[in-house]
Symmetry: D2
Subunit: 365 residues, 4 copies
C-alpha cells in the first residue's frame, strides 16, 4: 500500500515519514513539498540518507497516486486538498486545523481568521481522536472505496488535555458547570520549523515562558471536545519533544476535609481513597485503549517516559482541600500529538492493527 | 560590616556569597561549612578563585563574629542557630523553613516532620517577604542591638506565588471562598545540590515532569500567606534557574461573556478592559516596590528576563469566559527565591538602600 | 530465537532491550539484573509499560536459556560470564572492556586495574567492530554451535575515532610516524547511570568541560585499533546522546600551500582537490558498509543527524596549510557506540541481515 | 564619565550595556541602534526595565557626546565610525574584525571580503588583547586627548586560543615549525542574534556539530597572534555561554616514553614532572594577569566555572607518548570573549583599575 505525505519537510511531515518508513503495511512512500519539488528528500534532509529515498513530488500528483494521504501543511490548505482526495476517493488525514471544527465554521473563522474551503467535506469529516471517535473513524474507513474519508487530526495540546479530562467529564466526576483549568507545557518542536526570535536557542534555552494567555487557537478545540469552558494556558519550556498538561478539575463530590483552608494538612486517607476510586474509574474507562497508560498511585508523568512513542501517560490525584481533581497527561507532541496519531487514524481507517508502525518503546532520551 | 553565611557550599549559600562579595556595605565575609571546616572555600569551589578568599569556619564561631548571619542549612538547624544568634544578639536570616510558620508549630510538624527548636524566637520571628512585611522587618531591625532579629526567608515557590496573588487577595478581586490554582515550573537548581536520579542530566534534560502533587511542603506556606486554599502543583523543567508560576484566580466580578462555553470567542473588549483595570490595580499596589515589575498589556513573563536578578515580573490577564484572572509571575529561584531576597531582608534590617548588592541587570542567558 | 540482556537496567542495557524488542528475528527477550532480580523490568522502568513484559532473572539462568547473550555490566564481570556462556556454548557479546584487549592483558591491567578472568577466551575473542573485523566475527559465528563465541563490543569513543581514522591509516594517507589527535565530545548518557556531581543537571547543563586528559581508558583501545600513537581527549557537552570526534591526521602527502603560515589563506583549489580525492577514497573504502555515511563536500556532521540510529557520519577535509587531514565522525553513543553495534554483531554472528532491528531512521530530536 | 555603545541591541551590545551600567567610573551610558533609534532600550529589551533607562540615539550623535565609544556592529562599519571618533578624538573600541589585522589588509580582504575604510587608523590601531598588548594599549590611552585611540577587540575564539598558546609559543616550548591544533567549542550565543536554521532550538539542542572546517574567519587572527600555522576547528555545542578550546602543541622537548605507541601506558612520572614544569612556567608567565587562572594539577576547565566573568581558566597537561602539550582554555564568550574584554581595554586606556566593572564572581549557572 502506498502512503503519501504532503508537506514532508516540516517537523510533523518528517516524523510522519519516519514512522511510515517502517510501517509494516506501507510498501511505498510518497512525499510532496511545494518548496522542494523535484528534489530528493534525503538530500534536503541528509539525516535520512540510506534510510529512505524519495523524490519530492507535488500535492496533486501525490493525491492521485497514494492509497492514503497525510497533509502536514499549515492551516488553510486542507480544504482544497481534501476535495481532490475526495474526487478519487482516497482517505485524507489532515494534520492542520482546517477540519477540526466540523460544521462550526464561525469558531474556525474567529480563531484562525480563515474560511472553509472544503465544502460539504467539513460536515462529513471526523475529528480523529481515536479514544473518543474510533467508531466513527472506522465507519468512515469501512466505506473508503466509495465515499470520501476526511480525518481532522487533533492538535497537540487538545490531544493531551482532552485525553486527561475526557473520563472525568464523561463519568460526571466534574461539577456541573465547573471550569477546567488546563495548564500545559510544550517543547519547542511544537512551534514548528519556522524561524522566530522566541525559538532561537539563546532566547529560549534555560528559560520557561507563558504565551498566548487566553488566546491560543487550541482553546476552542479543547472546549468543544469537553463541552465546557476550559481555561487553557500554554507554556514553552526548553526541551525538544513533549507536552505535559496538568488539569485542575472541580469535583462534583467535594470532600471539604479541613475547616481551615489556610492551614492545610497533607492529603487525608479519605482523599487518597477518593483519588484511588477515580484512578480506577479512569483505568476502566481506558481499559481497551492501548496507547493510554493510567499510572498507578505514586507514579507521576514525565515527558521523557513517552518520548518517541504514541503513548499518553495519565496520573490522577486529589488536592486542594479535597475539592480539586488533578490530572496530568504527558505525550510526545510529535507522535501522539501529531504524526503518530495520524498513523493511528490510518490504521483504524484501513482496519490494520492499531499499533502497526507505532510499536517503538519510548526512550528516556 | 561583617556578613556570615552558614552552609556556604550549597547552591543558596554560594549565591549568597556571590552577592555579598560585591555588596557595598559588606567589608568582610565569613562562611561556615560543617563538611569542609578549615578549608578555603575557593579551593572547594574553584570557580571562585581570585574573587573571594574565605577560610571556612564553624557556625558558632561565625555567629560570634558576624554583624549579620545567614543560614542556608537544610531544615531543622535554624532553631538552635537562631538561639545562639539571639544571645548576642546578631540578626539571623534563615533560608530554611524552620521559622516560616511562626506560632503554628502544628503545620510545621505535619509537613516537615520536625519540631521547633527555637523556643520563643518562633513567635518573635518575622516572615521575610518584604513586599508583605517590610514594616515588621524594619521594626525588628531598628531594635537589632537590643533584641533578637530572626527572619524566615520565604521559600522559592511561595515567593513567586504569593507576589503574584497578593494584590488580588488584598484588593478583594478574588471570589470570597475561591480556590486559587497555582501551577508552577522550577529549574533544577531548586532541588539543591544533593545528588538524585531525578536530577541526573540524562534523566531530566529534554523532559518536563510534575512532582509531589498535593504534597509539596511549600503548600501550607502559600495557603497561610494568602489566607485561603491554594492548589499548588510544582513541575520540574530542564533549565538551571527560574520559577514561573501561573495562577488561576476565580474573579469576584465575573463577566460571563459567552453563553456557549464550549464555543469560546477570543477575549472580548469587555474582558480586556477589565484586565486592564486589574493590571492597573496591581501596578498601583506595587508602585513603591522596586523589585516588582508589573508588565504592560501584551508582554508576558519569561524566566530569562529576570535571570540573575532580584526582580519578580508579573503579568495580569483574564480568560475562561471572563471568570478567571490569570496571573503569571517569574523569578530567579536562586535570587528573589532565596539569596537575593535574604540580602534584601538584610538591607531592610540595617536601613540600607534595599537594592544594595542587588543592582545587577538581568541577563537573558 | 531468544536473546538475553544481562545488566538490563543501565542505559546500555535499556537501549539493548529497546532495540531487541523490535528485532524481527528475536521471538523472546530475557533480562537479568542483580539489583532487581525477580521484579518486572517494566515496573522498575515504567516508560516500558505495555511495550515489554520481562521478569528480571539472574545472569546464570539467562545464559542457560538464551540463544544469544549480551552483557551490559560494568568492567570486571565479563570473563566469568563468558566462561559460563562458552560452556554451552552460546554466543556472548560483552559491552564492557573485559575482552577488548585480546591477549594483551598488560594493557588491560594498566588502564583498568583489573585482571583477566576469562582464561583462554580472551585469546579466542574477537573485537567486534564490524567495519574492521566482520570476517572474523562471521567466522566465529559460523561455528557458534560447536565453539565459544565471545565478542568484545567496542567502546563508544573508540568506535567513532576508529571509524573516522581507519581508512586514512589503512590507505597510507597518514604520515608514517604521525600522531593522530582525536578530540571528542560526548553527551552525558555516556557517563552511564551512576550518580555523580559532574552529571547533576545544574552542574553540567550550559557547560562544556574537558576530562581525563591523557588518562581516559579508551586511549589504549584507540591506539591499538589504529596501530599508532593517538592523543585522545574527551569532552563532556550538555546533550543526552551523541559522540562527535574530530581527528587531526598529519598527511603523508603535504601540500605546503602558503609560505607564510601566520597569514593563511582560505583552502586553495589544490587543497580542495586533494580533499576530494581522499573523500573519494573514504567513500570507496566504506562502499559496502551500510552504517557508514561518508558525507559529500560541504556537509559536516552533527550528532542529531545520527540520533537514535546505528549510522556513523564521516566528513573529510584538509586544512592547516595543506598538511592536516581533518576527519569528523558522529555516532549515537548509545546505538553505534554501544547497543546498536552489539546487535549488529549478533546479526553477523547469526547470519542475519546486518540491519535487522537497526533500520530506524535517525530523528533530528 | 560617559560611555557609549553602538549596536546596543545585539548580544555583545547588551552585555556591554549590562557591564557598563554597574561600572564604578561610568556616570552616564549612551546607546545607539540604527534599527531602533529614538526608542527606549528598556522597552525593546524589557528584561532591562528599572535597571537602565536609555533613549537609543544614532552612532554619530553618540560619538560626539561620549568619552569612550564601543562599537558592537557587524564587520564593515568600524572604519568610518573610527574616523568619526578620531576627529574629536574619543577612544574607539571596535568589537568587530575591522581593525584586527592592522596593516595586513590583504588577509582581511581574503577572509572577510571587505575593504579597509579606516585609512591610516588601521596602522595606528592596537589589537586589544591586554595580556599580549597591554603596554601598547596603555601608551595609546595615555595620549587619548591628542591622538586617536582605536582598539581592535579580539574575536572570541582567538581570545581563548591565543591565551592558551601564548606562553608555550613565547617561551619556546613548542617545536620550531610545529603546527598547533586548536579544537574549540562554542555556545550558541556566539552566533549572535541573527536567526538561522542552525540556531533554532529544535535543530541544535541535544546536538554537537562541527562547522567551517578550515574556513572560519578567526583562523588568520589566531595564526597571526601565534606567528605560525594553527589548524583551528570550531564546534557548536548546546549551551548559551562559553568557549572551551583544547590545544595540541607539539613539544620541542619530546619525551618518547614508550617504544610501542600502539600500547600506551598512563602518563609516566617523567611526563607528569615535565607537565608540572610547564604548568609552573605558565603560572609565572601570567603571574600579573588578574584574569588568567592557571589551574593546579588535577583541575580541568569547565565553561560554567568562568560563567558571567572575565576570567580565562587554563589547564596544562602532557599526553600522547610525551610529545604533545595539551592546553585547554575556557572563557565566557560574551565577557572575556567580547564585552568584558572591551571594558578591560577601556580600563587600561583610561588608567582605571583593570577589574573595574568586571569584579563579578562567576556563577556555576
Amino acid at each position: 500500500m502506498i502512503a503519501g505525505v504532503i508537506g514532508a519537510t516540516g517537523y510533523a511531515g518528517l516524523e510522519l515519514t519516519r514512522i511510515l518508513a517502517r510501517h509494516p503495511r506501507i510498501t511505498e512512500l510518497l512525499a510532496a513539498s511545494s518548496s522542494a519539488e523535484g528534489e530528493q528528500l534525503e538530500h534536503i534532509q541528509p539525516h535520512l540518507e540510506k534510510t529512505i529515498s524519495i523524490k519530492l513530488t507535488d500535492a496533486k500528483t501525490l493525491i492521485n497516486t497514494a492509497d492514503a494521504v497525510f497533509s502536514a501543511l499549515p492551516n488553510g490548505h486542507g480544504g482544497e486538498l481534501a476535495k481532490l482526495a475526495a474526487s478519487r476517493p482516497v482517505p485524507f488525514i489532515d494534520l492542520s486545523a482546517d477540519f477540526r471544527f466540523g460544521t462550526d465554521e464561525a469558531t474556525y473563522n474567529a480563531w484562525y481568521n480563515l474560511s472553509y474551503k472544503g465544502g460539504e467535506l467539513h460536515a462529513a469529516s471526523v475529528y480523529g481522536l481515536p479514544e473518543m471517535n474510533r467508531k466513527k473513524i472506522a465507519e468512515l474507513g469501512a466505506a473508503r472505496n466509495s465515499a470520501p474519508v476526511v480525518i481532522a487530526n487533533p492538535g497537540c495540546y487538545p490531544t493531551a488535555v482532552t485525553l486527561a479530562a475526557y473520563p472525568a467529564v464523561s463519568l460526571g466526576l466534574i461539577e456541573a458547570d465547573g471550569i477546567i483549568v488546563a495548564d500545559a507545557l510544550s517543547g519547542i518542536s511544537g512551534a514548528g520549523r519556522e524561524l522566530g526570535r522566541a525559538y532561537h536557542f539563546a532566547e529560549c534555552a534555560d528559560s520557561a515562558s507563558v504565551y498566548k494567555v487566553g488566546t491560543h487557537r487550541h482553546t476552542p478545540e479543547i472546549c468543544r471536545n469537553l463541552s465546557r469552558a476550559v481555561v487553557f494556558t500554554p507554556h514553552l519550556v526548553p526541551m525538544n519533544r513533549g507536552i505535559l498538561a496538568t488539569l485542575y478539575i472541580p469535583l462534583e463530590k467535594k470532600l471539604k476535609v479541613t475547616s481551615n483552608a489556610a492551614a492545610p494538612r497533607l492529603p487525608t486517607q479519605e482523599m487518597e481513597e477518593h483519588a484511588a476510586e477515580i484512578r480506577k474509574a479512569y483505568t476502566t474507562f481506558y481499559k481497551d485503549e492501548h496507547f493510554i497508560r493510567v499510572l498507578p498511585a505514586g507514579l507521576l508523568p514525565a515527558t521523557n517516559r513517552v518520548r518517541g512513542s504514541n503513548y499518553c501517560d495519565i496520573a490522577v490525584n486529589i488536592a486542594g482541600n479535597g475539592e480539586t481533581l488533578i490530572v496530568t497527561g504527558a505525550i510526545d507532541n510529535m507522535v501522539k500529538g501529531a504524526a503518530g496519531q495520524a498513523v493511528q487514524n490510518m490504521n483504524i481507517i484501513f482496519g490494520f492493527d492499531e499499533t502497526d508502525g507505532l510499536a517503538l518503546p519510548p526512550g528516556l532520551f
